[in-house]
Amino acid sequence: MNIKVALVGNPNTGKSTLFNRLTGLNQKIGNFPGITVDKKTGFTKLVEGRDAEIIDLPGTYSLYPKSNDERIVFQVLADKNNSSYPDVIVLIVDASNLKRNMLLFSQVADLGIPMVLALNMTDLSDKQGIYIHVDKLAAKLGVQVIPISARNNIGIDKLKTAVAYTNKIATQNNAVEVNFLAPEAIKAVKQKINTDNDYYALQVLHQHEHLSFFSESEQLEIEEIEKVNHFESSKLQAAETIARYKYLSTILADVVIDKGTAEKFSFSDKLDSILTHKVWGFAIFLLILFVIFNAIFAWSSYPMDWIETGFGYITEAGHSYLPAGMLTDLLLDGVIAGLGGIFVFIPQIAILFAFISILEDTGYMARVTFMMDKIMSKVGLNGKSVVPMIGGLACAVPSIMAARNIENWKDRMITIMVTPLISCSARLPVYILLISLIIPQKTVLGIISLQGLALMVMYLISFVAAILVAWVMKIIIKSKEKSYFIMELPVYRMPRWKNVFYTMFEKSKTFVFEAGKVIIAISIILWVMASFGPGNRFENIDNKYQSALLDTAKAEHVKTLIATEKLENSYVGILGHWIEPAIRPLGYDWKIGIGLITSFAAREAFVGTMATIYSVDGGDADTSTIRERMAASVNSRTNLPVYSFATGISLMLFYAFAMQCMSTVAIVYRETKGWKWPIIQLAYMTAMAYFAALIAYQLLK
């Protein structure tokens, strides 16, 4: 028989470590309906013949939510018909800081759902000289209390057994009689919603707006009860919290014996004095950022090369062994190419998340937030936005996933919205090609290369743009969520390598399965558009060159001619011609237009498309030769070189700002759980790119 078990607890209590311990790799990520928060579930065997579905609820300090993530906890626990409604709650607390952790316990206990208390980090509390009378505590609370150390795998089996044999009817003693807080209103609501639980009724009064299972008329009626009884939410929450702490003081008085000395935090304090030091703090942070950046930029290039080579090999092998035809082409050039485009991100995602997981686990990330908050909050970002933004230099996709660590919704959205502006590694080939076309290979002052300078300016522009846009969005985006910075600074600990591994695995998997769908779909659409043309244009091209193909000496040359002509006559080519009037003021012709469309898949595709378009004279896809051909190309209308200085700058600015990356669109869709934000982002970035390019070209031409 399967029972449902929900994990509830404060942040930093080792809740996710326990979740990983219980479920191993047997976990999946889904959605809470209508909310942008991941729902992590997994399965575990409690005892022989009894399995449990484990649901990991977001960490929270209280049932009164301060963020959308925290809101879910009560939404799940309040709704018996919710698919995640638990049979048993495992409330996990940090034994080394019991009193504050027990506030949530006392609230959850009063909802009257069967529960087990897991005292985690008993190893740490032992070390700190804190002794907890487990049996006494259990007797006072009326629930099973199991000391565990999720990190060291101690007590997990006992916990499982305890959960398996938990009474189906809640046994806990009522912690606080809340009736005195609002007797009339509670009575009225109890009648209205048909419950005999005072605390549930009180919570409904506080939070009914966020409980979607009440009908509109029920909502109005509850609202009316609030009004009639002058229900003051904040005041009552404060009174309840004080009453709960009073209760906890009496409960814990002879349960917790703290022999601890003042020195219990000395190690963390010493580290803090270095790691958040005015000079050393920033220096160490910069060094860490550099290591991370270098890792996702340089280390990942080897596995990425292998993946690309591997997929290239599959495509090649497929073309030589499978029967030639449209289906084979679709499979190899559409689907397999799309898959390759997805898998190639895995090394970067895995490496970035290995680092992030280590930084989170050790407690260092909280210090980063602490140090950077003042600067970042000025432009609407969060101290934690620094990591995604630096990661954005390598690739926006893992970086946007990393923004998940930002608890505040608005800060997180702004970070997601501006991260793709940071100059990523896919822009590099485009910049290099264009800079080599328009910037002379000269040095000024003997050492400064003009081309290098131009490249650096492009990177600076990207940072300035990101900060400006963040600042504008800070003003535009409305948030009901109040922005707090009241946050625990956890003690420093060693990272848990298993957690690091799980994070790497889970993030890669999420990307492949969730963003992958969108990427595959767009790849196939782009492939169809580039491989087919209207009417019998393609046939005519084939017929035209049929005889020429017979000349084996020239066959390769003719094949490229065909490829080029086909691209011109494909839907992409037609679209390129069609958008020419719109992009002419930017200094582009239809050939560049084709490049803009194909490089929506990924920016670096621009270089490849240019290679195809300019390969009319045969030869391989060598950049230097494309470069020469591009440099020599002349606009048929004006008889001037296409790649003038003005056009080059205009194109670089376009690529600096435009969202030319379907993988980013896909990941923003996945991270925000909807099309609203990716569409806003696509629109604002394209508009910004267009106008920047337009202004640059018109000023420089």
Partner: protein, 81 residues
């Protein structure tokens, strides 16, 4: 009413210097007080200022046996003695 003596001056938590301690007396913002109390900042609790961030804000305090950080503007709602 609270007794005011020379060495029992009331001030905001944000005004304390590193190493100084105080006892929480009251809050000046109701909504914020709920969050602060949930985090263990209860009237009667001792707080000690541990450090300020390198740029002067936010600040880290020790309260209820752990380290909490908060912005100065948030610390300013806590009246201490």
């Amino acid at each position: 009413m609270m007794i005011e003596g020379k060495n029992k001056k009331q001030m905001k938590l944000s005004q304390l210097k590193v190493g100084q301690t105080g006892t929480i007396m009251a809050f000046t913002d109701l909504e914020m007080s709920v969050k602060l109390m949930e985090m263990g900042c209860l009237p009667g609790e001792m707080v000690e200022v541990e450090r300020f961030a390198p740029l002067g804000d936010p600040m880290a305090i020790r309260v209820a046996g752990y380290q909490l950080c908060l912005r100065k503007s948030e610390a300013a709602v806590i009246i201490i003695q």
